[in-house]
């Protein structure tokens, strides 16, 4: 009762203050919008004079933070290689670390709060599409044309790169060079275990299952305990098992001219069935579902409790650890395995390596282009091999690593700074480079086999990249949680593949998936010729 009259002025005051601040905020926001406008315009307005000549040659760039910069080396922002770059490229680069596992969040925050670096580098082409759509990055054709010599030439020499850098409007939005090696996933097997149990290298999925069962039952490590979990996973497990059946989860396939999500092909059911079998037969770790970072899996492999590792070209750098626990371990790469659908190769990556986009608000694109040119010409070499005489010796003009441990600590992390490079990892090159370390040599031999395999077998990939269809992008994330859930549950239960696919179908329908499929089909029909 006492509050009625007296409080009105106070209330009013608060409200007034509130509106004032709101409008103030609106203004500042609007300003940000308009001030952002002129920069691309300015670039196109003044073709004659060099608008950037007077600007300091300083740019910022993102750098993946994988926690690999060791003690004494400094940090991702400042270390011997950032110094080297600043001293030799003629451009000062300020690096902004992006946690590798959280690049989506971190990039989104940086962009949303208008503090994104001038150059944003990612492996994920989806990001480039989204950033362009949000207006966070700008087309690069003009910059490449005007300010670049080396990269311009490189792009002409590698026209196959162009479709991956170009978006729907026909403009180039990212800079990238060719991948050093396009082979990606791989399965490693303990050759010493195969030999010990008198088993042959599997050539089909069925044979792999036989081998795995033998590992499980016949005590290949000879410790007298039935504790072998034959297969260890990594992020690559689902991918590899999908790929056997040419049905990579969430990929689009052209089935009789119609675009279809892998889940709704007959082949996907076989992939589901395999994973269920592996679980129920105890061929994989039964606790994989809670091993979200696959650290337990890695440990199974490095401690010699598993003999088959679903991994990637680099085997997650586990060979040294494995040898420390099992000095006698010898390894082999499992060749592509056949199924009733034929033999599909292991995943072959897109031709482009890291994609670098330019922030729409960047001050000095000319300096950025000069930096890219420098990196492509010569900068990438020390970032790959280290310093001559310290980390490598030249042998037949191939840099041979002299001290692998030293190289790993001092140079290993630097490859991340190579926004563009010209390293080509051919089998011969890898073997020569390896130097004296046995682990290093064995690893190079394994990689050579994998790369050779990737060249002899084809990998079925009907679309070169994820269709840049906004409707699909907006449901893909939600659907991913769904299919991962259904996949995991199915593997651990007695659900039949048909039931699981039915569940996937329902989830897809509830996201209005069919209309998305139609949109993707329309995009495909319109771009079919360009995709070849």
């Amino acid at each position: 009762m006492y509050r009625n009259r007296k409080l009105t002025p106070a209330l009013l005051a608060v409200l007034l203050l509130g509106t004032a601040a709101l409008s103030a905020c609106g203004n500042s926001n609007g300003n940000a919008g308009t001030s952002a406008g002129p920069s691309p315009a300015a670039a196109s307005q003044a073709p004659s004079a060099d608008p950037y000549a007077s600007l300091p040659k300083e740019i910022s760039g993102s750098i993946y933070d994988r926690g690999q910069v060791a003690t004494g080396e400094g940090s991702y922002e400042e270390n011997r290689w950032t110094k080297y770059i600043n001293e030799n490229s003629g451009v000062k680069v300020n690096w902004v670390p992006i946690p590798r596992n959280q690049e989506a969040d971190k990039f989104n925050v940086l962009i949303a709060s208008d503090q994104a670096p001038d150059m944003m580098t990612t492996f994920n082409r989806d990001f480039i599409v989204r950033w362009a759509d949000e207006g966070a990055i700008q087309p690069l054709d003009e910059y490449i044309d005007k300010y670049s010599t080396s990269y311009k030439k490189y792009l002409q020499e590698h026209p196959e790169l162009k479709p991956y850098l170009t978006l729907d409007d026909g403009k180039i939005y990212a800079i990238a060079s060719m991948r050093p090696a396009r082979a990606n996933t791989a399965i490693f097997i303990r050759q010493d275990w195969l030999d010990k149990l008198g088993l042959a290298m599997p050539t089909s999925v069925d044979e792999l299952v036989v081998v795995a069962k033998a590992f499980r039952d016949n005590d290949p490590d000879g410790n007298g305990a039935a504790d072998t979990i034959p297969m260890a996973m990594s992020t690559a497990y689902t991918a590899i098992t999908d790929d056997w059946y040419m049905a990579r989860s969430a990929a689009w396939f052209v089935e009789d001219g119609k675009l279809t999500q892998s889940f709704f092909t007959e082949r996907y059911k076989d992939a589901l069935a395999f994973r269920q079998l592996a679980y129920h037969e105890s061929l994989v770790d039964k606790e994989f579902a809670t091993d979200k970072e696959f650290s337990r899996q890695k440990q199974l492999w490095t401690t010699g409790r598993s003999g088959i590792y679903f991994s990637n070209l680099n085997m997650d750098n586990t060979i040294t650890e494995l040898r420390k626990n099992n000095p006698e371990a010898t390894l082999a790469a499992v060749p592509p395995l056949s199924t009733k659908y034929g033999t599909n190769g292991y995943e072959v990556e897109v031709p482009n390596h890291l994609l670098t986009a330019f922030n729409k608000n960047m001050k000095n694109p000319q300096a950025a282009m000069e930096f890219i040119d420098w990196m492509l010409d010569s900068g990438w070499e020390p970032l790959t091999y280290g310093t001559e005489g310290v980390h490598y010796q030249l042998k037949d003009s191939i840099p041979v690593t002299t001290d692998f441990d030293k190289w790993k600590t001092e140079v290993g992390y630097a490859s991340e700074y190579r926004l563009v490079q010209q390293e080509q990892q051919t089998p011969e090159y890898l073997v020569t480079r390896a130097g004296d370390s046995k682990d290093d040599q064995d690893m190079a031999a394994l990689k050579s086999t994998i790369i050779k395999n990737s060249e002899t077998y084809t990998f079925r990939k009907d679309l070169p990249y994820i269709p840049p269809v906004a409707e699909y992008a907006s449901i893909a994330g939600q659907f991913e949680t769904k299919w991962k859930e259904i996949n995991t549950r199915m593997a651990m239960s007695n659900q039949t593949p048909d039931e699981a696919v039915e569940e996937l179908r329902q989830a897809w329908n509830s996201l209005d998936g069919d209309s998305v499929t139609a949109k993707v089909q329309a995009w495909y029909d319109a771009n079919k010729d360009k995709l070849k």
């Binding site: 509050r3 007296k6 409080l7 106070a10 209330l11 608060v14 905020c25 500042s28 926001n29 940000a32 933070d65 994988r66 926690g67 690999q68 910069v69 060791a70 003690t71 004494g72 940090s75 991702y76 922002e77 902004v96 670390p97 946690p99 590798r100 596992n101 959280q102 969040d105 971190k106 925050v109 940086l110 949303a112 709060s113 208008d114 503090q115 970072e293 650290s295 890695k298 440990q299 401690t303 750098n317 650890e321 420390k324 626990n325 441990d405 790993k408 600590t409 290993g412 992390y413």
Partner: protein, 284 residues
């Protein structure tokens, strides 16, 4: 004597509760001090097996962890003081029923508790206030917790009113009443709430991840999270590799290192809120 016996089950029960609560942490502590062989074969329960401090040695080879720890200490110490000042002052004021506008202010606080700040406006605001890459980006966006404010306010409301009354009659201003009377009486709640804040700051994660991009300024939680996510290759590579430590052991050691400091501070605050400081002085 009879009383003692009767309360035995109570003591046993609480001792059991306490044991169950700390067991997992003791388990981690034991792992951090055990050899990798023992960890993998699952032999470590409560007591370290094949004791070694290798994991700790390796962790500290990485100077980054020490820097991160230092950052976290600064963030926690300064942040707690700032938050306590803002919260205590406001809670005290809002506990005074005679204050005009009290209900509006209180409702505002409550309202703010429900509406989480939108991501975009928060990012833009932090940027416009030039807080990016400073600790202020951690302190300011969480300056006052509505929850703590309400808890404190309800404590102040519970203080005997006669106290203030008699002081006011003696001509004391609000300032005097607050600093000379209320604060000394409120040690338990002050200690409790500062711990609340300190723990939250100690474990601060998201804001640091989003607003701090300089690795020299990152707190230990972000560092720890990176360690837990990616196997600590850089650590494994560095230093002498004669004794190889499993990631699990390293993780355990990293966990212990991040928890230890706050455990050390805690007893100093704790003595304040264990005893009923309050009524003794009121009745005197």
């Amino acid at each position: 004597m009879v009383n003692r016996l009767k309360s035995m089950p109570l003591y046993l029960f609480l001792a059991l509760c306490a044991f169950i609560t700390v067991f997992p942490i003791l388990n981690i502590l034991a792992m951090s001090l055990s050899s990798s062989r023992a960890i993998i074969s699952g032999e470590v329960v409560l007591w370290p097996v094949e004791i070694t401090v290798q994991a700790y040695k390796q962790l500290f080879i990485d100077g980054q962890l020490l820097i991160a720890l230092k950052n976290t200490v600064i963030i926690t110490a300064v942040g707690t003081v700032l938050q306590m000042i803002a919260t205590t002052l406001a809670a005290y004021t809002l506990s005074k029923r005679r204050l005009k506008g009290r209900q509006i202010f209180t409702f505002m606080v409550m309202f703010s508790m429900l509406f989480g700040t939108g991501l975009i406006p928060l990012f833009l605001l932090v940027k416009q206030l030039h807080l990016i890459n400073t600790f202020w980006a951690i302190w300011l966006p969480g300056l006052v917790s509505a929850y703590n404010l309400f808890v404190m306010k309800s404590f102040f409301e519970g203080l005997p009113a006669e106290l203030e009354e008699s002081a006011t009659i003696d001509g004391a201003t609000d300032l005097t009443v607050f600093f000379k009377l209320t604060l000394p009486l409120s040690k338990p709640i002050l200690a409790a709430i500062s711990l609340f804040y300190a723990v939250a700051l100690w474990n601060t994660y998201s804001n640091a991840l989003y607003f701090i991009s300089k690795s020299q300024l990152l707190p230990v939680t972000v560092k720890l999270y990176q360690m837990l996510q990616t196997p600590i290759d850089s650590l494994l590579a560095g230093g002498d590799s004669s004794q190889y430590i499993q990631p699990e052991g390293l993780k355990a050691a990293a966990i212990i290192i991040t928890v230890l400091p706050i455990l050390c501070v805690y007893p100093f605050l704790q003595k304040h809120f264990i005893k009923g400081v309050l009524l003794g002085s009121v009745k005197g």
